[in-house]
């Protein structure tokens, strides 16, 4: 069985391809990418030999004209909530949401219950992910046992079990000595350390960005220095140790500045942001909307501009969703008491396409930030459309109008501030290893 995706614009940063081509897939692999067959189609009827050849191969042809054919999107920052909080999301619903959002690969953070700080939990996640199929799941192991920030988790065993990186996401490593050792120790296993940068002392009881709006609403503020101070510390520690550091969910102007400067000096640091940090400002919190409560918090329009500039100039390598499902039990509460985070797997691409429409990124760079770069940073064999590679790909209709409807989400949760937003463009087909896992062509 051979599948030909015909006439789409193949955008593959890894091979620097951006042209209308046919992608030919056989037995779950890409076998050939060739110049648009429809143009070269012979006008005369195919010869007997040709027809015999076609019949033998039983080609299915899929018309992708007007669409983008891109390497399967990779979301290196999600929360799947299983084990422990299955009422918010399971691995199964999480991968369904991923497939619907155009993601073929996702990484899940270790803040489950129990915490993914050992082989048995990593095994469990991988087993559940295999049963669910749909998307590839790479678990992220904990930096510290129980995410308590007291002692190192067993990185060697975690890596053997299949963990792709380590992070105490949601629980910043406040102890600088532990962070130093984590970067050093991880280096020996070739693991990257993903840092949730937050100075808990400085954050205090803050629940939103510090500034005029927090003052007016009478909510405790979180200044940019809460994030940027730890970004600076972790950059210095990465420099000290040579350990590979990836900064999670960058939200603040100062953080972008520190990362830019560090990259210039050759520090082994990469960074991600999430769509809400370039799509929304703190004004979304007005009226105490708990769906706009997240950590780090939504910031000012100056920060949004800095994040966009960081994406444009390459300081920020990756767009990750920070998909954080919560139910009404955590969200229909007083603002102070509500949980942080929003779902993102099914809105990430449409929100990110806005960057192309706004002229911040070209399509190739966008795909790099949502596929090629995460693959490179994590060292996984994905994020490219080249002969021999697994047929993990996403077809995007960049023009189609879309209205976000939280009730249509495949995710178990619908905590999103983007309900009702009118956007342009979305994934229309997601394929993992040659199998179509989502289709809305």
């Amino acid at each position: 069985m051979r599948l030909i995706i015909r006439g789409g614009r193949v955008i593959d940063p890894a091979s620097n391809t951006n042209a209308v081509k046919d992608v030919i897939i056989e037995r779950g692999k890409i076998v050939e990418i060739k110049s648009d067959g429809s143009r070269g189609e012979p006008l005369c009827p195919p010869s007997f030999e040709d027809r015999k050849e076609q019949k033998k191969q039983k080609s299915t042809i899929m018309d992708a004209s007007g669409k983008w054919v891109v390497p399967g999107l990779i979301d290196m920052h999600t929360h799947l909530r299983e084990p422990g909080h299955e009422y918010k999301e399971t691995i199964k619903t999480g991968v369904l949401a991923a497939a619907a959002g155009g993601f073929t690969t996702i990484c899940c953070m270790p803040n489950t219950d129990p915490v993914n700080d050992n082989r048995s939990i990593t095994d469990y996640i991988l087993k559940k992910a295999k049963e669910a199929s749909r998307a590839r799941v790479y678990p992220v192991g904990a930096i510290s046992k129980g995410l308590k920030g007291e002692s190192l988790a067993e990185f060697g065993e975690l890596k053997e079990a299949g963990a792709i990186a380590v992070s105490d996401d949601g629980h910043p490593v406040m102890n600088s000595q532990l962070m130093r050792r984590a970067l050093e120790y991880a280096r020996g296993f070739g693991l990257i350390v993903i840092s949730h940068c937050e100075d808990l002392y400085l954050a205090g009881k803050g629940v939103m960005n510090e500034g005029v709006i927090a003052t007016r609403l009478g909510l405790r503020g979180i200044p940019n220095a809460v994030e940027a101070g730890m970004v600076a510390r972790d950059i210095l520690l990465a420099e000290l140790t040579g350990g590979r550091l990836h900064i999670a969910h960058v939200s603040a102007e100062d953080s972008v500045r520190y990362i830019r400067e560090a990259k210039k000096r050759g520090v082994p640091v990469t960074a991600e942001t999430a769509p809400h940090y370039f799509s929304l400002t703190e004004e979304a919190v007005l009226d105490y909307d708990t769906n706009a409560k997240m950590n780090p918090p939504l910031r000012t329009k100056e920060d949004v501009a800095a994040i966009r500039e960081g994406l444009r100039d390459g300081t920020i390598d990756v767009i990750a969703s920070d998909h954080a499902p919560h139910s009404s039990l955590e969200k229909e509460l007083e603002f102070d008491a509500a949980a942080n985070g929003i779902v993102g797997l099914e809105t990430s691409l449409s929100l990110s396409l806005k960057l192309v429409q706004d002229g911040i990124l070209d399509p190739m760079t966008l795909i790099a930030k949502m596929s090629t770069n995460p693959a490179r940073i994590l060292g996984i064999p994905a994020g490219r459309l080249t002969p021999g590679a697994s047929a993990d790909l996403t077809i995007i209709d960049p023009e189609i109008p879309r209205t976000i409807d939280i009730h249509s989400f495949k995710s178990k949760s619908c905590n999103s501030p983007f309900d009702g937003w009118h956007l342009q463009g979305k994934s229309v087909l997601t394929m993992v290893e040659g199998s179509i896992v989502f289709e809305e062509m």
């Binding site: 510090e210 500034g211 003052t215 007016r216 009478g218 909510l219 405790r220 105490y288 102070d336």
Partner: protein
Amino acid sequence: MDFVRKDILGVEELTGAEIELILDTADSMKEISHRDIKKVPTLRGKTIVYFFHEPSTRTIASFEIAAKRLSADTVSISASTSSIVKGETLIDTSKNLEAMRPDVIVIRHQASGAPHMIAKRVRASVINAGDGMHAHPTQALLDMMTVREKKGTLSGLRIAIVGDIAHSRVARSNIIGFTKMGSSVVVAGPPTMIPTGIESMGAKVVYSIEDAARDADVIMMLRIQKERLGDFLFPSDREYANFFGLTHEAVSKARKDALIMHPGPINRGVEIPPEIADGPQSVILDQVENGVAVRMALLYLLIGGSRHASDN
């Protein structure tokens, strides 16, 4: 004019004309409290629920007296005796209260925005009796009533508010209220107690009590909460009293007829010395008295007319 609001959640939402109407109504309500028989039948058959999640002496007593003088039936629920301690959410508790058909729910809550959350979900009128650091509209209204009573106007005055502005809902509501009515507000305190961007709400910021008091028509002192020591806002009561407590010298910088105000409860000897709190310029107890009148006015305006009855 007609008063057509469902809820009183903050001073921010009120227009200048509405504030005037509330204060005019309060002025006439005040007379009832001076009668021999302090009761009128205006709210007979109406039910008011107090839902207090934070300790309160003055505010709850003031509401209770206001309601009783208007012949309403009242029920009081505090956080420690409610199902909140059994793990019921605020929304569930308020929906349950709603099912018992109260006409007004008066809520105080430690979380900013809690009354707004409830107001969206119940048909009853909601009065915010203080939410977190956000708003305390009935306090601001009684403060404005007191100042208007003594000064004859609310415009062109200079109001100084001194203390922990950052954590004060009283300060926020008064800044909004007095500036809306045409006065200027200056706030003072150590920089740790001045919140980011308070100027955007119309307040001028100074860092000494003398600067704040200069030419003031009103000096409003805020209570210093000792538990804030843990937030590193100030080193000690002693140092606070020395630099930000009210002094005769500071009072002398103000206008001769300046009013000294305090929302209570006061820490005698910390933010205000006893002789000033009890002195001739102090209107602290007038504030308390006017609190009853303002709350009577609000209850009457929200549920007293025929409008409300026909709505239901």
